[in-house]
């Protein structure tokens, strides 16, 4: 069974959040680009579920949560907040990050990671050499910074695929006049 056949049986994150089901117009269009669907979910699985030495899954989910809170993307923000909750991350921490109140966090390394996340999401030009070196100075290795940058950039992508498909699906639901 290919990845794609498996996905058709178990909805991937975007199909689940958008409530796209096989046979619906938006689902069928989306799944014409099989390779994109597969690589999108595989990227999420690696970045938010795979092993990255020195970056815990809860830290990575907090990065994704902040990215969605700032974009904003309510649906993906709720998704990542729920996953953090299931992992047992305290509500206080989840709420602080979801409302971008980074001053309330005690962990200086996590705080530095989230400051970098905020810059790269809201004004990518501000995430410059200085910001990258600050990250290095806070103790992150280059492979960790690679994973973190890919994660933030991926979430920027994922929220826009979600937003575009959401609008397309809304039009389909109205009955497209095409």
């Amino acid at each position: 069974m290919t990845n794609h056949e498996a996905l058709k049986q178990k909805p991937d994150t975007l199909d689940r959040l958008l409530e796209l089901v096989p046979g619906s117009q938006t689902f069928e269009i989306r799944h014409q680009r099989t390779k994109v669907v597969d690589a999108t979910q595989a990227s999420e699985d690696l970045l938010l579920g795979g092993p990255v030495e020195g970056l815990s899954i809860s830290d990575r989910l907090l990065v994704a949560l902040l990215a969605c809170a700032l974009t904003p993307s309510q649906a993906l923000k709720n998704e990542y907040a729920n996953r953090l909750s299931e992992l047992g991350v305290p509500d206080y921490t989840i709420q602080s990050v979801a409302s971008a109140q980074l001053d309330q966090l005690n962990d200086p390394r996590l705080k530095q990671i989230l400051i970098f996340t905020a810059a790269l999401i809201t004004d990518p030009i501000k995430a410059d050499k200085e910001a990258l070196l600050a990250l290095k100075a806070s103790g992150l290795t280059t492979p960790q910074i690679t994973a973190l940058s890919q994660l933030i950039a991926f979430v920027s992508y994922q929220v826009r695929v979600y937003a575009g498909l959401h609008a397309l699906n809304a039009l389909h639901s109205q009955g497209a006049r095409s």
Partner: protein, 195 residues
């Protein structure tokens, strides 16, 4: 490339790109890293960008699979229009390097550069006809305010002749450059050809 364009800090010249942190040394790369570099881009082994991303090879593999499927897959939205949308996104995000690459690709595919000059000058009014203008406007909106995109924005694309498969490709193209621009902007900087 027929004509050099330099407008508001953006260009269609061939630029280099230099990483701010250490890249993978190709002579010490693992077999997996080499394989993933080769499937990512024909020149990846000479590129600081890919050699940096090779620090996390599996993540690079999936990024490249998504990127290549979105930008090069046959059918759907014409490739020149995908390049146009990515040039717009890069212009909006301020990614001079990405804008230069995709300005060139647009010109190679469309055999003209008028739209690129317009995008560099003022993306908000760019496009040589209604179809291009609609593609440009949607690219800006999905880049700047993804939460504000509604059914009427999709309808505006349909009104100028885009079908659902083309709209999906446009959504993917804009989104993948939210990803690509952020990597290019935060991991290094463009290097201009010496005068």
């Amino acid at each position: 490339m027929s004509e050099v364009i330099r407008i508001k800090g953006f260009t269609n010249e061939t630029l280099d790109w230099k990483a701010w942190l250490d890249v993978v040394n190709i002579s010490k790369a693992s077999a997996e890293q080499i394989a993933i570099l080769e499937e990512s881009h024909p020149k990846a082994k000479e590129s600081d960008y890919y050699l940096f991303l090779a620090h996390q090879p599996e993540i690079l593999r999936q990024r490249s699979a998504a990127f290549n499927a979105i930008m090069y897959a046959p059918g759907g939205m014409p490739r020149a229009e995908r390049e146009l949308s990515t040039a717009v996104v890069s212009r909006i995000n301020g990614c001079v390097y990405c804008a230069s690459v995709h300005a060139q690709r647009f010109e190679q595919l469309a055999k003209r550069n008028d739209s690129i000059k317009q995008v560099f000058t003022d993306p908000h009014t760019a496009g040589i006809d209604d179809r291009e203008k609609a593609i440009v406007q949607f690219s800006i909106l999905l880049t700047e305010k993804p939460d504000a995109v509604t059914a009427s924005d999709i309808q505006a694309l349909k009104n100028v002749g885009l079908n659902d498969a083309e709209i999906l490709d446009l959504i993917h193209s804009v989104a993948i450059f939210a990803w690509a621009n952020r990597l290019m902007l935060n991991l290094g900087e463009p290097v201009f050809p010496s005068a």
